[in-house]
């Protein structure tokens, strides 16, 4: 037999291998009416992750559910010591419905870690995170890293209503200042958000802003960022096939130096410069 190995022979500089692996499900439970948390037992090579990176999941084919392509899912938590990989997901279609059928002891084929995560530059000490819905999944590991790097983090968490607001306790346990806003309370509108953010800038100063997804929040943070000259980053989504940069299906448009450029969300992203991003 050929001595075929799974080991990549990297001929790029400074780029890490991508691993495909079968992981065993430790648990896979609803967190609230909309979201589920899946905990996988993962080998350490999979857990050399950065906040903002994602995995590409091979959802099972079961009964009436026939997902074919993999599904991208942000890393909600990676714990090399516990050997755990966490995903927080919302059941929206065929693939995520199939994910929801997995039971402890079943296996799931994951590919990753993939993409470029969030930066925390040395001079960024006061961080602001604004997230809505499942976007929290993407931003959660950033909080852990911020704490490890001893940065101060404020998280504005937005949701439809109190009961689908997630991760607040998790954030609080990391000493994050949490500001919860909801549609139900009428506290999640752009004007109010702007008011809160402007106050934070005034009172504490903010060195960098992080967000993901929502157009409304993107537009707001771009405006605030321009006004106060605060840099930021955003994690974006796009439909994916390969997840590692081969197919070019996941491009989004960005403005850079006055021109429009297409970049691959799976490769140049999913984290991009806040000001370069274009909503959709």
């Amino acid at each position: 037999m050929n001595s075929v190995t799974a080991q990549p022979s990297l001929r790029f500089d400074g780029i890490k291998p991508i691993h495909g692996d079968e992981c065993t499900i430790k648990s896979n439970r609803p967190v609230n009416g909309e979201y589920r948390l899946m905990v996988l037992a993962a080998s350490s090579k999979l857990l050399d992750c950065e906040p903002g990176q994602f995995f590409h999941l091979l959802c099972p084919v079961t009964g009436d559910l026939h997902p074919y392509l993999r599904r991208p899912m942000s890393i909600y938590g990676y714990y090399p010591d516990a050997g755990e990989l966490h995903f927080l997901y919302k059941v929206t279609g065929e693939g995520t419905s199939a994910l929801a059928t997995l039971n402890p002891g079943d296996t799931l084929n994951v590919l990753g870690p993939l993409g470029r995560g969030f930066d925390i530059l040395p001079r960024w000490t006061n961080l602001l995170l604004v997230a809505r819905g499942v976007g929290l999944a993407t931003l959660a590991p950033l909080a852990l890293k911020a704490r490890r790097l001893n940065r101060r983090l404020t998280a504005i968490c937005s949701a439809r209503s109190e009961d689908v607001l997630m991760s607040l306790d998790y954030f609080r346990s990391l000493d994050v200042d949490v500001i919860a806003v909801t549609d139900a309370d009428g506290t999640s509108n752009v004007d109010h958000l702007r008011f809160i953010i402007e106050r934070l800038i005034r009172e504490d100063g903010i060195d960098a802003m992080y967000t993901c997804g929502s157009n409304r929040i993107l537009n707001l943070l771009q405006a605030v960022g321009k006004t106060h000259d605060i840099p930021g980053q955003i994690a974006l989504e796009q439909q994916m096939a390969c997840g590692i940069g081969m197919c070019q299906c996941c491009v989004r448009a960005f403005t850079r130096n006055g021109a429009i450029v297409n970049e691959r969300v799976c490769r140049e992203g999913p984290v991009f410069d806040l000001q370069e991003a274009i909503g959709c």
Binding site: M1, N2, Q7, P8, S9, L10, Q239, I244, C247, C249
Partner: protein, 314 residues
């Protein structure tokens, strides 16, 4: 001693497994050692920079996918500067896929790309020829012959013609490509298809229609590969829906000299290197020593004489 080596004209591949254009890139080196597969085939490039089609560029259909990536291209200069040097690190031959809207531009690009480090040129003639009311070159024998002739005189490198399944004249197109000097046929590109989101009533692809690839496409591409292998003497490289080693064997038996793996790599990025291993194991298990014992070994008997040219199946 097992022999997985295969010969595509003057080019020897150490095994018959290579990627399909557009489903492979340098990034895959992060997943496995690219030296282990038979050849490297790059995404189609054009002369100029192009941005490709609107998103969404892919969608899922039952057990397969559609794509309308288009041909986003950084242009030939960027390719020569950044991509060719990367693949020169490997011994596996580099096959560069090119395309153009007119036969002359195609020939220009073919000449331009015939540089050291490139071992063969795959010409993607499945894209529109703007001189012929937008029909792709490979839709008709005449346009195929004309463009391949020009390409032939533009390069001394082996020339692989990649056919389209969207024609009703597969066999004549294959013969024209051979007559005009192609060294091999790649059979085939994707098949035009469509899907509509019934909730929004919008086509699922930004470009309205796109190409079917993956397992659903296999029986169609296999039929074409078989028809071509029966009709020409140059090697046929099978491509379409290959996702298991059994699929590889099926194509080889049908007459393919090598195969290209596309969509399956999206589902399982290590699949090609695994197939190389599994192909060895298969030969061993069957008591075979050489993949040439498989190539073209289909037991089609007399039926094949008349029926190869069958075109419809009522």
């Amino acid at each position: 001693m097992l022999n997985l080596e295969t010969q595509i004209g003057s080019l020897t591949l150490k095994n018959p497994i290579m990627p399909a254009s557009g489903t492979f890139s340098e990034e895959l080196a992060q997943v496995f050692d690219l030296e282990l597969i038979g050849a490297h085939v790059t995404k189609t490039i054009t002369r100029q920079k192009r941005s490709g089609n609107p998103t969404p560029r892919v969608c899922e259909v039952r057990g397969s996918m559609l794509n309308s990536i288009g041909i986003p291209s950084k242009g030939v200069e960027a390719f020569k500067t950044h991509v060719i040097p990367f693949y020169r690190q490997y011994d596996a031959p580099l096959i560069v896929s090119i395309s153009a809207d007119t036969a002359d531009e195609f020939a220009w690009l073919c000449e331009e790309i015939s540089v050291p480090g490139v071992d063969a040129v795959e010409v993607n003639i499945s894209c529109p020829n703007i001189e012929e009311d937008g029909k792709a070159f490979a839709m008709r024998p005449s346009t195929t012959e004309a463009v391949i002739r020009k390409l032939r005189s533009a390069t001394d490198l082996p020339l692989w013609a990649k056919l389209t399944p969207n024609t009703g004249e597969t066999i004549d197109v294959a013969k024209s490509a051979e007559a005009a000097g192609a060294d091999a046929l790649v059979v085939s590109n994707t098949l035009l298809a469509m899907a509509i989101d019934i909730t929004t009533r919008r086509p699922k692809l930004g470009n309205l229609m796109g190409g079917l690839s993956g397992p659903a496409f296999k029986p169609i591409a296999l039929r074409m590969a078989y028809q071509c292998a029966k009709s020409v003497t140059i090697p046929v490289i099978g491509c379409g829906g290959i996702s298991t080693v059994e699929d590889v064997v099926e194509y080889l038996i049908a007459g393919a000299t090598a195969v290209q793996v596309g969509t399956a790599t999206f589902i399982e990025p290590q699949i090609m290197v695994r197939m190389v291993d599994q192909l060895e194991a298969y030969l061993n298990a069957q008591g075979l020593t050489d993949i040439r014992q498989l190539i073209g070994s289909v037991e089609d008997g007399e039926a094949s004489d008349g029926l190869v040219f069958m075109e419809a199946a009522p």
